[in-house]
């Protein structure tokens, strides 16, 4: 399964949530017309019982990454 992001680490929290540390990338055009790879490293809280990949995909889609 190909994913446009990579979950580097999943950390369980005592409250049942999980922290996903991830990297996401996207190719764009810079203002001078050259292709650039934009990358972001960040963390996202994953609700209890949620699939981390699906949750991340939905959140990043909503944010305009894909």
């Amino acid at each position: 399964m190909i994913k446009p992001f990579k979950i580097v680490e999943l950390v369980d929290r005592p409250d049942g949530l999980r922290v996903a540390r991830f990297e996401v990338y996207r190719m764009d055009l810079s203002p001078n017309g050259k292709r650039v790879m934009n990358r972001m490293r960040a963390e996202l809280l994953i609700p209890a019982g949620a699939d981390p990949d699906q949750h991340l995909f939905q959140q990043l889609s909503s944010a305009g990454w894909f």
Binding site: M1, I2, P4, Y25, M27, M37, D53, Q54, F57, F66
Partner: protein
């Protein structure tokens, strides 16, 4: 236009995404796949009927920087295939061919790459894409044409071939014709480069 492949008398052409033809093809594509990001690609093909998938397919060649992300640096090249009737898609990763050459390949053939089809998260995947893979090879044109009952077709600069394999047997063979040196034309050079980078000069 930098590449032509011919299959059953029908040719498929690859265009620069910024050319008029490329722009028109991307318009077609985004009407069915609104999530397509044109900046990821350096080539887009005309739609070609696919015998196994049973529908027209547009192929987009993915930039190397994206390929490295997709494949963790393990593959030579990648493309995204768009099935225009079913609105499904998949990634094809082209890796070094490390298996034994199939017995049905003529003696002069050198298999360089194997293309496998992979689904992407939250994108509809055509189930039939799991049923085949492609082998990309060079060989003596006379011998290859005779072995696969192909028409006599040669690029002025270079000629390569691709076989689609189902259940271990070839179901179609594509002839890739290059009339001049261009971005797509030197498969043998790319093969050597990736063998060397992978520490697999034994594959040459």
């Amino acid at each position: 236009m930098s590449e032509v492949y011919v299959l059953n008398g029908v040719s498929r052409q690859v265009y620069d995404p910024n050319s008029n033809e490329g722009q028109a093809l991307f318009s077609q594509l985004t009407s069915k796949f609104p999530w397509v990001n044109i900046h990821e690609y350096f080539g887009i093909s005309s739609a070609t009927g696919h015998e196994v998938l049973g529908e027209p397919v547009i192929t987009c060649n993915i930039h190397q920087a994206m390929v490295r992300e997709i494949s963790s640096g393990q593959n030579l090249i990648a493309s995204r295939k768009f099935c225009m009737n079913s609105a499904t898609s998949f990634i094809r990763l082209y890796g070094l061919f490390t298996d034994q050459k199939p017995a049905w390949m003529p003696p002069s053939v050198k298999v360089m790459c194997k293309g496998v089809n992979l689904p992407e998260i939250n994108r509809f995947f055509p189930a039939l894409a799991d049923s085949f893979h492609d082998l990309y090879f060079s060989g003596d044109p006379d011998e290859v044409e005779a072995a696969f009952s192909l028409p006599r077709l040669r690029g002025e600069y270079e000629t390569f071939y691709g076989a689609t394999v189902v259940d271990g047997q070839p179901v179609r063979v594509k002839q890739y014709l290059y009339n001049e040196q261009a971005g797509f034309s030197d498969w043998d050079v790319v093969f050597y480069l990736h063998c060397k980078m992978a520490g697999r000069l034994d594959l040459l």
